[in-house]
Protein backbone atom coordinates (compact mmCIF):
# COMPACT_ATOMS: atom_id res chain seq x y z
CA UNK A 1 0.00 0.00 0.00
CA UNK A 2 2.31 2.77 1.21
CA UNK A 3 4.37 4.89 0.84
CA UNK A 4 1.42 6.89 -0.41
CA UNK A 5 3.02 9.16 -3.01
CA UNK A 6 5.43 6.70 -4.75
CA UNK A 7 2.56 4.21 -5.09
CA UNK A 8 0.26 6.80 -6.62
CA UNK A 9 -2.32 6.83 -3.80
CA UNK A 10 -1.73 10.57 -3.46
CA UNK A 11 -0.80 12.56 -6.59
CA UNK A 12 2.78 13.78 -6.78
CA UNK A 13 1.61 17.39 -6.95
CA UNK A 14 0.44 17.17 -3.34
CA UNK A 15 3.97 16.36 -2.18
CA UNK A 16 4.97 19.94 -1.38
CA UNK A 17 1.56 20.91 -0.03
CA UNK A 18 1.69 18.04 2.47
CA UNK A 19 5.32 18.90 3.30
CA UNK A 20 4.33 22.50 4.09
CA UNK A 21 1.43 21.36 6.29
CA UNK A 22 3.63 18.88 8.18
CA UNK A 23 6.31 21.58 8.50
CA UNK A 24 3.82 24.02 9.99
CA UNK A 25 2.55 21.39 12.43
CA UNK A 26 6.14 20.52 13.37
CA UNK A 27 6.99 24.19 13.95
CA UNK A 28 3.86 24.70 16.05
CA UNK A 29 4.60 21.68 18.25
CA UNK A 30 8.27 22.71 18.66
CA UNK A 31 7.18 26.15 19.81
CA UNK A 32 4.36 24.85 22.01
CA UNK A 33 6.80 22.44 23.71
CA UNK A 34 9.10 25.32 24.62
CA UNK A 35 11.76 24.51 22.06
CA UNK A 36 12.07 28.15 21.09
CA UNK A 37 13.87 28.80 24.39
CA UNK A 38 17.63 28.62 24.01
CA UNK A 39 18.02 27.98 27.75
CA UNK A 40 15.84 24.90 27.56
CA UNK A 41 17.75 23.61 24.54
CA UNK A 42 21.17 24.28 26.00
CA UNK A 43 20.07 22.64 29.24
CA UNK A 44 20.86 19.23 27.79
CA UNK A 45 24.56 20.17 27.70
CA UNK A 46 24.59 21.59 31.23
CA UNK A 47 22.48 18.81 32.71
CA UNK A 48 19.53 20.79 34.06
CA UNK A 49 17.00 19.99 31.31
CA UNK A 50 16.90 16.86 29.16
CA UNK A 51 13.66 17.53 27.30
CA UNK A 52 15.47 17.76 23.94
CA UNK A 53 17.07 14.35 24.40
CA UNK A 54 13.80 12.79 25.57
CA UNK A 55 11.64 14.29 22.84
CA UNK A 56 13.90 13.43 19.92
CA UNK A 57 14.81 9.99 21.21
CA UNK A 58 11.14 9.16 21.90
CA UNK A 59 10.07 10.36 18.47
CA UNK A 60 12.75 8.22 16.82
CA UNK A 61 11.72 5.12 18.80
CA UNK A 62 7.99 5.64 18.19
CA UNK A 63 8.57 6.26 14.47
CA UNK A 64 10.78 3.23 13.94
CA UNK A 65 8.45 0.89 15.86
CA UNK A 66 5.43 2.29 14.00
CA UNK A 67 7.04 1.96 10.57
CA UNK A 68 8.12 -1.63 11.19
CA UNK A 69 4.66 -2.61 12.45
CA UNK A 70 3.13 -0.99 9.35
CA UNK A 71 5.62 -2.90 7.21
CA UNK A 72 4.69 -6.12 9.03
CA UNK A 73 1.01 -5.48 8.33
CA UNK A 74 1.79 -4.66 4.66
CA UNK A 75 0.63 -1.07 5.07
CA UNK A 76 4.04 0.32 4.08
CA UNK A 77 6.71 -1.22 1.91
CA UNK A 78 9.86 -0.41 3.87
CA UNK A 79 12.12 -1.12 0.89
CA UNK A 80 10.57 1.85 -0.92
CA UNK A 81 11.49 4.32 1.82
CA UNK A 82 14.36 6.72 1.20
CA UNK A 83 17.56 6.00 3.11
CA UNK A 84 19.92 8.96 3.21
CA UNK A 85 23.46 8.05 2.12
CA UNK A 86 26.15 7.96 4.82
CA UNK A 87 29.09 10.32 4.28
CA UNK A 88 31.06 9.13 7.28
CA UNK A 89 33.70 11.81 7.93
CA UNK A 90 31.50 14.63 6.68
CA UNK A 91 28.84 13.50 9.18
CA UNK A 92 31.31 13.23 12.08
CA UNK A 93 32.91 16.64 11.48
CA UNK A 94 29.59 18.26 10.56
CA UNK A 95 28.04 16.81 13.72
CA UNK A 96 30.81 18.27 15.87
CA UNK A 97 30.46 21.72 14.28
CA UNK A 98 26.70 21.51 14.77
CA UNK A 99 27.18 20.50 18.41
CA UNK A 100 29.46 23.46 19.12
CA UNK A 101 27.01 25.80 17.37
CA UNK A 102 24.11 24.30 19.32
CA UNK A 103 25.92 24.75 22.65
CA UNK A 104 27.21 28.26 21.88
CA UNK A 105 24.04 29.63 20.29
CA UNK A 106 21.41 27.68 22.17
CA UNK A 107 19.47 26.67 19.05
CA UNK A 108 19.51 24.16 16.27
CA UNK A 109 18.48 25.41 12.82
CA UNK A 110 14.80 24.39 13.14
CA UNK A 111 14.26 25.74 16.63
CA UNK A 112 16.04 29.01 15.74
CA UNK A 113 13.33 29.64 13.13
CA UNK A 114 10.72 28.91 15.81
CA UNK A 115 12.38 31.56 17.98
CA UNK A 116 12.38 34.02 15.05
CA UNK A 117 8.67 33.34 14.53
CA UNK A 118 7.88 34.50 18.07
CA UNK A 119 10.26 37.47 17.77
CA UNK A 120 13.13 36.40 20.01
CA UNK A 121 16.18 38.59 19.47
CA UNK A 122 18.68 35.79 20.22
CA UNK A 123 16.89 33.65 17.63
CA UNK A 124 17.16 36.41 15.02
CA UNK A 125 20.88 36.85 15.75
CA UNK A 126 21.38 33.09 15.57
CA UNK A 127 19.58 32.92 12.19
CA UNK A 128 21.74 35.76 10.79
CA UNK A 129 24.78 33.79 11.96
CA UNK A 130 23.32 30.71 10.30
CA UNK A 131 23.02 32.58 7.00
CA UNK A 132 26.63 33.82 7.30
CA UNK A 133 27.70 30.23 7.99
CA UNK A 134 25.87 29.01 4.88
CA UNK A 135 27.50 31.78 2.83
CA UNK A 136 31.01 30.95 4.11
CA UNK A 137 30.43 27.23 3.51
CA UNK A 138 29.25 27.91 -0.05
CA UNK A 139 32.30 30.11 -0.74
CA UNK A 140 34.68 27.50 0.66
CA UNK A 141 32.91 24.60 -1.03
CA UNK A 142 35.71 23.99 -3.52
CA UNK A 143 38.12 23.44 -0.61
CA UNK A 144 35.65 21.37 1.43
CA UNK A 145 34.29 19.31 -1.44
CA UNK A 146 36.65 16.30 -1.01
CA UNK A 147 35.52 16.02 2.62
CA UNK A 148 31.88 16.68 1.71
CA UNK A 149 31.54 13.99 -0.95
CA UNK A 150 34.31 11.64 0.23
CA UNK A 151 33.83 8.57 2.42
CA UNK A 152 30.42 7.86 0.92
CA UNK A 153 29.25 4.52 2.27
CA UNK A 154 26.05 4.53 0.24
CA UNK A 155 22.47 4.13 1.47
CA UNK A 156 23.39 1.86 4.34
CA UNK A 157 21.67 1.28 7.67
CA UNK A 158 22.74 -0.48 10.86
CA UNK A 159 21.15 -3.64 9.48
CA UNK A 160 23.66 -3.61 6.59
CA UNK A 161 26.74 -2.67 8.61
CA UNK A 162 26.08 -4.89 11.65
CA UNK A 163 24.28 -7.72 9.89
CA UNK A 164 21.73 -8.06 12.72
CA UNK A 165 17.97 -8.39 12.31
CA UNK A 166 16.31 -4.93 12.24
CA UNK A 167 13.86 -6.06 14.95
CA UNK A 168 16.68 -6.75 17.41
CA UNK A 169 18.25 -3.37 16.58
CA UNK A 170 14.91 -1.65 17.32
CA UNK A 171 14.57 -3.53 20.62
CA UNK A 172 18.12 -2.64 21.70
CA UNK A 173 17.60 0.96 20.55
CA UNK A 174 14.43 1.18 22.68
CA UNK A 175 16.24 -0.16 25.74
CA UNK A 176 19.11 2.33 25.18
CA UNK A 177 16.56 5.15 24.93
CA UNK A 178 14.83 4.18 28.18
CA UNK A 179 18.14 3.73 30.01
CA UNK A 180 19.30 7.14 28.79
CA UNK A 181 16.04 8.69 30.10
CA UNK A 182 16.64 7.19 33.55
CA UNK A 183 20.29 8.32 33.58
CA UNK A 184 19.35 11.81 32.41
CA UNK A 185 16.77 12.02 35.21
CA UNK A 186 19.41 11.02 37.78
CA UNK A 187 21.82 13.66 36.40
CA UNK A 188 19.09 16.33 36.39
CA UNK A 189 18.31 15.67 40.06
CA UNK A 190 21.98 16.10 41.01
CA UNK A 191 22.51 19.32 39.03
CA UNK A 192 21.53 22.64 40.57
CA UNK A 193 18.13 23.69 39.26
CA UNK A 194 18.01 26.61 36.83
CA UNK A 195 14.81 28.61 36.59
CA UNK A 196 14.07 30.32 33.30
Amino acid sequence: MGPLIPNGLIPLEWNYVIAILIGMAFGYILEASGFSSSRKLAGVFYGYDFVVLKVFFTSAVVAVIGIFYMDYLNLVDITQLYVHPTYLWAAIIGGMVMGVGFLAGGFCPGTSLCAVAIGKIDGIVFTIGLMIGIFVFAELFDVLEPLFVGSNLGNITLVDSLGISPYWIIFIFTIIALVSFVISDIIRKKVKKVFY
Binding site: F68, S165, F171, T174, L178, F181
Partner: protein
Amino acid sequence: MSKKYKSKKIIVARQYQILALILVVLAGGLVLLPKQTRSEGVSPLVFVKQAVSSERYISTDQLADRIINQDPTLLLVDTRSKEEYDDFTLPNAINIPLEKFFDEEFNGFLNQDVYDVVLYSNDNFYANEVWMLGNRLDYKNLYVLSGGLNEWFNTIIDPQKPKETDSQKEFELYSFRKAAGMYFGVGVPKTEAKAKIKAEKKPAKKVITVKKKKKRVPEGGC
Protein backbone atom coordinates in the same frame (compact mmCIF):
# COMPACT_ATOMS: atom_id res chain seq x y z
CA MET B 1 7.62 17.73 51.05
CA SER B 2 3.89 17.43 51.65
CA LYS B 3 2.09 14.11 51.43
CA LYS B 4 -0.10 15.36 48.57
CA TYR B 5 2.90 16.39 46.43
CA LYS B 6 4.65 13.09 47.08
CA SER B 7 1.65 11.04 45.91
CA LYS B 8 1.31 13.20 42.79
CA LYS B 9 4.97 12.69 41.94
CA ILE B 10 4.56 8.92 42.19
CA ILE B 11 1.54 9.00 39.84
CA VAL B 12 3.47 10.95 37.22
CA ALA B 13 6.36 8.55 37.53
CA ARG B 14 3.98 5.62 37.15
CA GLN B 15 2.60 7.12 33.95
CA TYR B 16 6.08 7.25 32.54
CA GLN B 17 6.70 3.71 33.69
CA ILE B 18 3.62 2.51 31.82
CA LEU B 19 4.66 4.40 28.66
CA ALA B 20 8.15 2.91 28.86
CA LEU B 21 6.64 -0.54 29.35
CA ILE B 22 4.43 -0.08 26.25
CA LEU B 23 7.49 0.82 24.19
CA VAL B 24 9.40 -2.21 25.43
CA VAL B 25 6.44 -4.53 24.76
CA LEU B 26 5.95 -3.14 21.25
CA ALA B 27 9.65 -3.36 20.43
CA GLY B 28 9.82 -6.87 21.91
CA GLY B 29 6.73 -7.81 19.92
CA LEU B 30 8.60 -7.06 16.70
CA VAL B 31 11.33 -9.50 17.76
CA LEU B 32 8.90 -12.24 18.81
CA LEU B 33 6.37 -12.00 15.97
CA PRO B 34 6.57 -14.84 13.45
CA LYS B 35 8.51 -13.71 10.43
CA GLN B 36 6.68 -13.32 7.15
CA THR B 37 8.01 -14.64 3.91
CA ARG B 38 7.59 -12.07 1.21
CA SER B 39 6.74 -13.37 -2.23
CA GLU B 40 9.05 -12.33 -5.05
CA GLY B 41 8.01 -10.34 -8.08
CA VAL B 42 5.24 -7.79 -8.32
CA SER B 43 2.71 -7.21 -5.57
CA PRO B 44 -0.69 -8.93 -5.97
CA LEU B 45 -2.42 -5.56 -6.43
CA VAL B 46 -0.15 -4.54 -9.32
CA PHE B 47 -0.47 -8.02 -10.79
CA VAL B 48 -4.26 -7.91 -10.84
CA LYS B 49 -4.22 -4.38 -12.28
CA GLN B 50 -1.99 -5.50 -15.14
CA ALA B 51 -3.93 -8.73 -15.66
CA VAL B 52 -7.24 -6.94 -16.27
CA SER B 53 -5.63 -4.30 -18.48
CA SER B 54 -5.67 -4.88 -22.25
CA GLU B 55 -2.36 -3.07 -22.72
CA ARG B 56 -0.50 -6.35 -23.18
CA TYR B 57 -2.29 -7.15 -26.45
CA ILE B 58 -0.74 -6.37 -29.81
CA SER B 59 -2.91 -6.65 -32.91
CA THR B 60 -2.02 -8.80 -35.91
CA ASP B 61 -1.81 -5.66 -38.08
CA GLN B 62 0.68 -4.04 -35.70
CA LEU B 63 2.71 -7.23 -35.61
CA ALA B 64 2.69 -7.60 -39.41
CA ASP B 65 3.83 -3.99 -39.75
CA ARG B 66 6.72 -4.55 -37.37
CA ILE B 67 7.80 -7.79 -39.07
CA ILE B 68 7.69 -6.17 -42.52
CA ASN B 69 9.70 -3.19 -41.29
CA GLN B 70 12.20 -5.65 -39.81
CA ASP B 71 11.96 -4.19 -36.32
CA PRO B 72 15.16 -5.36 -34.57
CA THR B 73 13.56 -5.15 -31.10
CA LEU B 74 10.92 -7.74 -31.90
CA LEU B 75 11.15 -11.29 -30.57
CA LEU B 76 8.38 -13.73 -31.49
CA VAL B 77 7.70 -16.60 -29.10
CA ASP B 78 5.45 -19.48 -30.11
CA THR B 79 3.96 -20.96 -26.94
CA ARG B 80 2.39 -24.02 -28.62
CA SER B 81 3.78 -27.53 -28.66
CA LYS B 82 6.83 -28.54 -30.68
CA GLU B 83 4.71 -30.43 -33.27
CA GLU B 84 2.45 -27.46 -33.90
CA TYR B 85 5.47 -25.16 -34.10
CA ASP B 86 7.11 -27.42 -36.69
CA ASP B 87 3.88 -27.52 -38.66
CA PHE B 88 3.40 -23.78 -38.99
CA THR B 89 4.68 -20.69 -37.24
CA LEU B 90 5.56 -17.07 -37.89
CA PRO B 91 8.93 -16.18 -39.45
CA ASN B 92 11.93 -16.12 -37.06
CA ALA B 93 9.84 -17.21 -34.07
CA ILE B 94 11.30 -19.35 -31.30
CA ASN B 95 9.36 -22.11 -29.60
CA ILE B 96 8.84 -21.98 -25.82
CA PRO B 97 5.98 -24.37 -24.98
CA LEU B 98 4.00 -23.47 -21.85
CA GLU B 99 5.25 -26.53 -19.95
CA LYS B 100 8.88 -25.50 -20.59
CA PHE B 101 8.40 -21.94 -19.33
CA PHE B 102 10.58 -22.43 -16.24
CA ASP B 103 13.45 -24.10 -18.14
CA GLU B 104 16.77 -22.35 -17.60
CA GLU B 105 17.59 -22.31 -21.32
CA PHE B 106 14.58 -20.08 -22.11
CA ASN B 107 14.98 -17.72 -19.17
CA GLY B 108 17.31 -15.44 -21.12
CA PHE B 109 14.69 -14.87 -23.81
CA LEU B 110 11.88 -13.96 -21.44
CA ASN B 111 13.61 -12.21 -18.55
CA GLN B 112 15.26 -9.29 -20.36
CA ASP B 113 14.52 -5.68 -21.19
CA VAL B 114 15.98 -5.37 -24.70
CA TYR B 115 13.38 -7.06 -26.89
CA ASP B 116 9.61 -6.71 -27.07
CA VAL B 117 8.59 -10.32 -26.66
CA VAL B 118 5.34 -11.13 -28.50
CA LEU B 119 3.78 -14.35 -27.25
CA TYR B 120 1.26 -16.22 -29.32
CA SER B 121 -0.55 -19.54 -29.55
CA ASN B 122 -3.49 -20.70 -31.65
CA ASP B 123 -5.69 -18.41 -29.58
CA ASN B 124 -4.86 -16.16 -26.63
CA PHE B 125 -5.00 -19.01 -24.16
CA TYR B 126 -1.45 -20.40 -23.82
CA ALA B 127 0.13 -17.05 -24.61
CA ASN B 128 -1.90 -15.44 -21.83
CA GLU B 129 -0.83 -18.10 -19.37
CA VAL B 130 2.83 -17.54 -20.23
CA TRP B 131 2.26 -13.80 -19.91
CA MET B 132 0.68 -14.27 -16.46
CA LEU B 133 3.61 -16.34 -15.22
CA GLY B 134 6.14 -13.90 -16.66
CA ASN B 135 4.34 -10.89 -15.30
CA ARG B 136 4.11 -12.40 -11.82
CA LEU B 137 7.92 -12.80 -11.92
CA ASP B 138 8.17 -9.13 -12.99
CA TYR B 139 9.53 -9.87 -16.48
CA LYS B 140 9.51 -6.79 -18.69
CA ASN B 141 8.21 -6.18 -22.23
CA LEU B 142 5.94 -9.19 -22.59
CA TYR B 143 3.07 -8.85 -25.07
CA VAL B 144 0.37 -11.17 -26.34
CA LEU B 145 -0.72 -11.42 -29.95
CA SER B 146 -4.43 -10.63 -29.83
CA GLY B 147 -6.38 -13.61 -31.15
CA GLY B 148 -3.24 -15.63 -31.78
CA LEU B 149 -2.58 -17.48 -35.02
CA ASN B 150 -6.29 -17.89 -35.77
CA GLU B 151 -6.66 -14.14 -35.89
CA TRP B 152 -3.41 -13.92 -37.88
CA PHE B 153 -4.91 -16.27 -40.50
CA ASN B 154 -8.23 -14.39 -40.61
CA THR B 155 -6.67 -10.96 -40.98
CA ILE B 156 -3.29 -11.25 -42.69
CA ILE B 157 -3.39 -14.53 -44.62
CA ASP B 158 -7.03 -14.48 -45.68
CA PRO B 159 -8.51 -11.04 -45.04
CA GLN B 160 -12.21 -10.46 -45.69
CA LYS B 161 -13.00 -7.93 -48.36
CA PRO B 162 -14.91 -5.00 -46.89
CA LYS B 163 -18.43 -4.22 -48.11
CA GLU B 164 -18.95 -1.45 -50.59
CA THR B 165 -20.63 0.62 -47.93
CA ASP B 166 -17.64 0.38 -45.54
CA SER B 167 -15.45 3.35 -44.83
CA GLN B 168 -12.28 4.28 -46.68
CA LYS B 169 -10.33 3.20 -43.61
CA GLU B 170 -11.62 -0.35 -43.98
CA PHE B 171 -10.48 -0.45 -47.59
CA GLU B 172 -7.05 0.90 -46.67
CA LEU B 173 -6.75 -1.72 -43.96
CA TYR B 174 -7.81 -4.40 -46.42
CA SER B 175 -5.20 -3.36 -48.97
CA PHE B 176 -2.56 -3.25 -46.20
CA ARG B 177 -3.53 -6.77 -45.17
CA LYS B 178 -3.42 -7.94 -48.76
CA ALA B 179 0.05 -6.47 -49.22
CA ALA B 180 1.19 -7.93 -45.90
CA GLY B 181 -0.19 -11.31 -46.95
CA MET B 182 1.85 -11.11 -50.15
CA TYR B 183 4.94 -10.34 -48.05
CA PHE B 184 4.30 -13.52 -46.09
CA GLY B 185 4.08 -15.54 -49.31
CA VAL B 186 0.36 -15.53 -50.02
CA GLY B 187 -0.27 -15.00 -53.75
CA VAL B 188 -2.94 -12.70 -55.11
CA PRO B 189 -5.97 -14.83 -56.16
CA LYS B 190 -5.99 -15.61 -59.91
CA THR B 191 -9.36 -14.12 -60.68
CA GLU B 192 -8.41 -10.85 -59.14
CA ALA B 193 -5.05 -10.88 -60.92
CA LYS B 194 -6.78 -11.38 -64.27
CA ALA B 195 -9.20 -8.61 -63.55
CA LYS B 196 -6.28 -6.42 -62.73
CA ILE B 197 -4.57 -7.22 -66.05
CA LYS B 198 -7.79 -6.57 -67.90
CA ALA B 199 -8.22 -3.31 -66.12
CA GLU B 200 -4.75 -2.32 -67.08
CA LYS B 201 -5.53 -2.57 -70.86
CA LYS B 202 -6.03 0.90 -72.04
CA PRO B 203 -7.86 1.85 -75.26
CA ALA B 204 -5.67 3.05 -78.12
CA LYS B 205 -5.28 6.72 -78.30
CA LYS B 206 -7.17 8.41 -81.07
CA VAL B 207 -4.98 10.48 -83.31
CA ILE B 208 -6.51 13.71 -84.27
CA THR B 209 -4.74 15.59 -87.00
CA VAL B 210 -4.90 19.25 -86.65
CA LYS B 211 -4.38 21.30 -89.78
CA LYS B 212 -2.31 24.32 -89.20
CA LYS B 213 -3.74 27.48 -90.56
CA LYS B 214 -1.56 29.34 -93.01
CA LYS B 215 -0.27 32.58 -91.83
CA ARG B 216 -1.94 35.43 -93.45
CA VAL B 217 0.08 38.25 -94.92
CA PRO B 218 -0.72 41.32 -92.96
CA GLU B 219 -2.80 43.70 -94.92
CA GLY B 220 -2.40 47.41 -94.70
CA GLY B 221 -0.89 48.82 -91.69
CA CYS B 222 0.20 52.04 -90.47
